[in-house]
């Protein structure tokens, strides 16, 4: 924890940095004492930098899993008002646009899975393209790419991947409005043409999990979850296309910042006024990137269903929800007694709409949005639900994962991939990955304690804990 930054404790689970220097609004961090003590000073520095961007509203927020990122902290949330010269930032969204998690019920219990677990792991690993250099079975020409970028998961369903019912349980009903495929460059399209339906690498994965503990019976029942149920988590994003959009617009925004009179304390904070040609171009491209991620997770869902149909024909995979955690979305929030249209950036933070939110599907409206928090490989993940007070606390945002506790380099010095796989196997967790070094870099010990993170999120009021799930099979990128 920092002595350099004037952190004031507001409550047991929230901390505040009052504006100083170029900050226009305060910085607010949701965390318990241990989490805040372990946070890198860079998180506070980056949060203060974000708080100084033009048009920022209310506060710059950091979630309990915050760690230092590129420009914005990862686990950072900031909302901007276009009418007050607010900005949109490519760095505030990140390279992996709309990276996110979706969870599926299987209609099975873990006892149904156990006898064929190895066979299931092998079949998933064989049929779902994963890791560096992997390609999908779908190869899009330019026209197909444009349709995908405009339609998102809805396009994927039209192509035969999944069903219309799935779309009800995806943010934006599976299709991000306002996407402008024409703003996505030929280079970004080229990076994507063979990558549809691929998981990627790094921290991306597909897991078969067991519902190990229910915290909130009423909400769990509404989400269709019972203890011992087998469920599937899929974590991936917009692949090469999103990375290339991020790369290109970051540069354009760096080069244009001075033209718009924007002073950047860190080039990675590059941004453009929402009401500028560049700002609008980025929003159009970024929304197309969101659609790419939604389509990608929809295709992977279809492949997962095919594998289950082969190995466990009695399975029925239905979507619990699909969340994105690297986005900028236009939302209406009450600020100082007035409803305002804001451009909410969430970088490594999950949208968490509370009960009654009009954008939630009818089946979830009374309960709140499922918030899916992926833990590290071999530990546990969590399912939470949005709260009513979330809108005033953090523009309805919560944490997104455990957050790294050390670098990849440090992790490879501490663990060997093969030993990690063997140790997890002893605990009944099957890992399949094309790279043992990748496994070592993602070793469970390289991450923070996800339970501390979700506990802090709940205690701070950002989301309500519903269930804890444990991995049984992990296909790791």
């Amino acid at each position: 924890m920092s002595d350099e930054y004037p952190l004031q404790r507001e409550s047991e689970y929230s901390w505040r940095i009052d504006p100083f220097g170029k900050m226009r609004v305060p910085g607010i961090i949701y965390a318990d004492e241990n989490l805040i003590r372990d946070m890198d000073n860079k998180v506070f520095e980056q949060l203060c930098n974000v708080a100084g961007l033009p048009g920022i509203v209310q506060a710059a927020y950091a979630m309990p899993d915050a760690h230092w990122g590129y420009g914005f902290p990862i686990g950072g949330v900031a909302a901007f008002d276009a009418e007050q010269d607010g900005v949109v930032s490519a760095g505030g969204v990140g390279f992996d646009i709309s990276c996110g998690v979706r969870a599926l019920r299987t209609g099975l219990t873990i006892e149904d899975i156990e006898p064929v677990k190895k066979q299931l792991a092998d079949a998933l690993f064989k049929n779902i393209p994963v890791g560096v250099g992997s390609t999908g079975r779908i190869h899009l020409n330019d026209k197909g790419m444009t349709a995908m970028l405009r339609g998102g998961a809805r396009w994927a369903v039209e192509q035969g991947f999944g069903n219309a019912e799935d779309l009800q349980h995806i943010e934006e009903k599976g299709c991000m409005a306002g996407a402008v495929p024409e703003e996505v460059s030929a280079r970004a399209r080229k990076r994507q043409q063979d990558e549809m339906g691929t998981l990627g690498s790094g921290n991306h994965y597909l897991e078969v999990q067991r519902v190990a503990e229910i915290y909130d019976q009423r909400i769990a029942t509404a989400f269709g979850l019972r203890e011992n149920d087998a469920i599937v988590f899929i974590h991936c994003g917009s692949r090469g296309l999103g990375h290339q959009i991020g790369t290109e617009f970051l540069k354009y925004m760096v080069l244009e910042a001075s033209k718009h009179g924007i002073e950047l304390p860190d080039r990675e904070l590059a941004c453009a006024p929402i009401n500028s040609e560049l700002g609008q171009a980025y929003l159009g491209a970024m929304r197309a990137g969101i659609n790419c991620a939604l389509a990608n997770r929809q295709i992977i869902t279809h492949l997962t269903r095919q594998v289950f149909a082969d190995v466990l024909p009695q399975a029925d995979l239905t979507l619990i929800f699909d969340v994105s955690h690297n986005t900028c979305k236009v939302e209406t929030h009450q600020v100082e007694g007035r409803k305002r249209k804001l451009y909410v950036h969430r970088k490594g933070a999950t949208r968490a709409f509370g009960p009654g939110h009009p954008d939630l599907p009818e089946t979830l409206r009374a309960i709140g949005q499922p918030v899916l928090i992926g833990g590290s490989m071999g530990t546990e993940s969590h399912i939470l639900a949005g709260t009513e007070q979330g809108t005033e606390l953090s523009f309805n945002s919560a944490c997104h994962g455990a957050g790294r506790a050390m670098s990849r380099h440090q992790a490879t010095k501490l663990w060997r991939g093969r030993s990690v796989v063997d140790e997890l196997a002893d605990r009944g967790i099957i890992i399949r990955s094309p790279s043992m070094r990748g496994v070592a870099e993602e070793a469970p010990g390289a991450y923070k304690d996800v339970r501390a993170v979700v506990d802090a999120a709940e205690k701070a009021g950002l989301a309500r804990k519903v269930a804890r799930v444990e991995p049984h099979v992990c296909i790791k990128g």
Binding site: Y70, D96, G131, V132, G133, E268, S407, M436, R437
Partner: protein, 126 residues
Amino acid sequence: MGLRGFGDTLAQAFEQVALALTATVTELGLVTPQRCVDIECEGSDQELLLVDWLNALVFEMATRRMLFSRFTVKLVDHRLIGKAWGEAVDRQRHSPAVEVKGATYTALKVAQQENGGWLAQCVVDV
């Protein structure tokens, strides 16, 4: 992941960072420099040029599905003329650990050292 290259000249430092880029993915010694890809970037700011160079390599790695293990860089005025030698990714042999998403402006620095040599560094997102 942070990358850092040192060289007697600026061009050499750029070549060294490129080697570090491959090392984030696999062991350099496993990549045979069989095929050459030409890369050109342009920019008056040396730091932005470094990011462009690395991003051009990320793009070629991703779209050609190649890994590179030998690089040459020539800097002429504000232009970078680069060559990268490598081969197609072999998932068995190279066992690639991560995919680089892009080079960032974080910890970005290109500077001449006191001993006259050059340093080039930045963080890449993986």
